[in-house]
């Protein structure tokens, strides 16, 4: 019996058109504008070839945004994964209040990053310096968001606070897939807890480690809300991320086509990183199992 395909086409064609129109088309337009000198407002513009790209490559502001974004994203990915794996192992062990604790640790995941950012902003600028000076550590009694050298730490902390929630729950789901008899066999051998973790637990949750690393890094490379709420990219642009730079300069700075070129480069960078990351982590997973 031949299947009547008409209804299936009718189901997907509107979705395809809408997606093309609101996602693919703007992307192609972005690529197109990156070869022009359009400022985003004036009625006319002309093609300038690779000029924007060449300028982006020589722009210290762009380099500093990449520097901050990568420093932030890599460090935060590592910290988030260490903390969430530790907490997940804890939550999976024989503890009291298991469900309550799990619910508390997941709570930040459902909260608005922007508002959390406002709250932490106040904490760093008012509460923490006060606590530090009362504790006699006047050397640390300053607003870390106010200094070029330390503002990024504040962004890392607020992101870790929020992002561990998701990773904990994912690791916990992974830990629950490990059959208990695996551990029973090892405890007979007198394996230490530490050895047990590296030889049984970690290899068993390797796929979850892969997902967490990839998703976390990808999300953190897009960092935006926290920066709006806490530093506005400052002080002295030290916490300007790539997304934030494209947003502020592209919309308000009048360098629409220039930031389009920047975003095209960013796109290529993200795709390359995702590919490499998946390759490496999948290879690791293979060799572990």
């Amino acid at each position: 019996m031949r299947k009547n395909m008409t209804p299936f086409y009718l189901m997907v064609i509107p979705a395809f058109l809408l997606f093309f129109f609101f996602h693919t088309l703007p992307m192609l337009m972005g690529v197109f504008y990156s070869f022009t000198n359009w400022n985003g407002l004036s009625p006319s513009y002309k093609m300038v070839g690779f000029k924007n790209f060449l300028n982006v490559f020589q722009d210290p502001q762009v380099y500093s945004a990449y520097g901050f974004t990568f420093k932030f994203a890599i460090l935060t990915t590592v910290i988030v994964n260490i903390i969430s794996l530790a907490v997940a192992v804890g939550l999976n062990s024989r503890i009291k209040l298991k469900n309550t604790l799990r619910a508390v640790y997941f709570l930040p995941n459902i909260l608005s990053m922007l508002i959390i950012g406002f709250i932490f902003n106040y904490f760093f600028s008012n509460i923490l310096p006060d606590v530090m000076s009362k504790a006699g550590m006047s050397g640390l009694a300053f607003n870390i968001l106010g200094s070029e050298n330390t503002a990024w730490i504040g962004i890392v902390i607020v992101t870790v606070w929020q992002a561990t929630a998701f990773n904990i729950i994912l690791y916990l789901a992974g830990l629950q897939t490990i059959p208990a008899d695996l551990y029973e066999a090892s405890s007979l051998d007198g394996a230490s807890k530490w050895k047990e973790f590296w030889h049984i637990t970690f290899p068993m949750i390797a796929p979850f480690f892969t997902i967490n690393m990839v998703l976390a890094l990808k999300n953190f490379l897009m960092v935006f809300d926290q920066i709006v709420a806490m530093t506005g990219g400052g002080p002295a642009k030290s916490t300007t991320s790539i997304s934030y730079l494209i947003f502020t300069d592209g919309f308000q700075g009048g360098s629409f086509s220039y930031q389009s070129a920047n975003s095209v480069i960013y796109f290529i960078v993200i795709v390359v990183i995702s590919m490499i990351q998946l390759k490496i982590l999948q290879k690791r997973e293979m060799s572990l199992s």
């Binding site: 996602h23 088309l25 972005g30 509460i127 960013y266």
Partner: protein, 274 residues
């Protein structure tokens, strides 16, 4: 099992850790209910007097009820339309994956997950405002359309586990493809529909960047956007500011308290599938 004892050191460590998670919310509550004077005395201490009037001030300053309404409408419609449309598209794709065109369509949608938003952001704003869609409706459309990239992935994975015989039987009985989908398949999708609904809800409710660039008037602002727009209005009146933050966070916290298990398992299912 009963032989093994509770691991108290780990329990205690985790309780201490959970205080770190709760601390910012505690701080928010404490500031929100104090007078400036009381806050200057001791920010984190339990309040002697609860200044509920701070909340009233905050409601007036940020036009809270309006922003709450905007957020609710956008989130509810985004969730409903996402469920109805994305599942349908996924069904058509999942049942025709053997055909080249549908397979290509699958990869077309899913590959969009690799596209960073900033690259489409600048032209998108031009496009949307040219169409007069720089309002709540436009925002709902964008959530539904962009959702496909990830939801298709979830739905197709799930649909593959549903045997095709079920619908073939329905078709034999003379049901149309549409009828089969709505009467036979859609009800079977409930678990994955729940996941998609939860993820869409968290996304649409908390999103800041899309409302920031799409919505053209402050009166259209969603809750997070309203906090941003009215931030300067608060000045040093932190009590009002924090009352406002708390109110913006509270609806989601209440939903979470009620449906916590459900939300966690929904999010896990979404992530594990990827």
């Amino acid at each position: 099992m009963s032989m093994k004892r509770t691991n108290w050191p780990v329990t205690i460590l985790l309780v201490i850790g959970s205080l770190i998670v709760l601390f910012p919310l505690y701080m928010t509550l404490m500031i929100a209910v104090k007078s400036p004077q009381e806050m200057a005395d001791a920010v984190l201490a339990w309040p002697k007097e609860w200044h509920w009037s701070n909340f009233k001030e905050a409601v007036d300053m940020t036009n809270f009820s309006h922003a709450f309404q905007n957020s609710s409408i956008i989130t509810v419609f985004a969730v409903i339309f996402t469920l109805l449309t994305n599942s349908l598209v996924s069904y058509a794709v999942a049942r025709n994956m053997d055909k080249r065109l549908f397979k290509m369509l699958y990869f077309y949608f899913v590959s969009a997950l690799f596209v960073p938003f900033p690259i489409i952001m600048l032209p998108l704003v031009k496009e949307v405002s040219k169409l007069g869609m720089n309002n709540q409706t436009g925002l709902i459309v964008l959530y539904v359309v962009y959702g496909i990239a990830f939801n298709l992935f979830l739905y197709v994975g799930y649909l593959r586990s549903i045997p095709a015989e079920l619908e073939e039987a329905a078709v034999m009985d003379g049901a149309s493809v549409w009828g089969t989908f709505w009467k036979v398949i859609f009800p079977l999708l409930s678990p994955i529909n729940a996941t998609v609904a939860i993820l869409t809800c968290i996304w649409a409710w908390n999103d800041f960047l899309l409302p920031l660039i799409i919505l053209s008037k402050p009166s259209m602002a969603t809750l997070p956007l309203a906090q941003y727009i009215f931030q300067s209005k608060f000045g040093v009146q932190y009590n009002y500011a924090f009352a406002s933050y708390l109110m913006a966070l509270l609806p989601m916290i209440i939903v979470y308290l009620v449906a916590q298990r459900w939300i966690i398992s929904g999010v896990v299912r979404g992530a594990v599938k990827s």
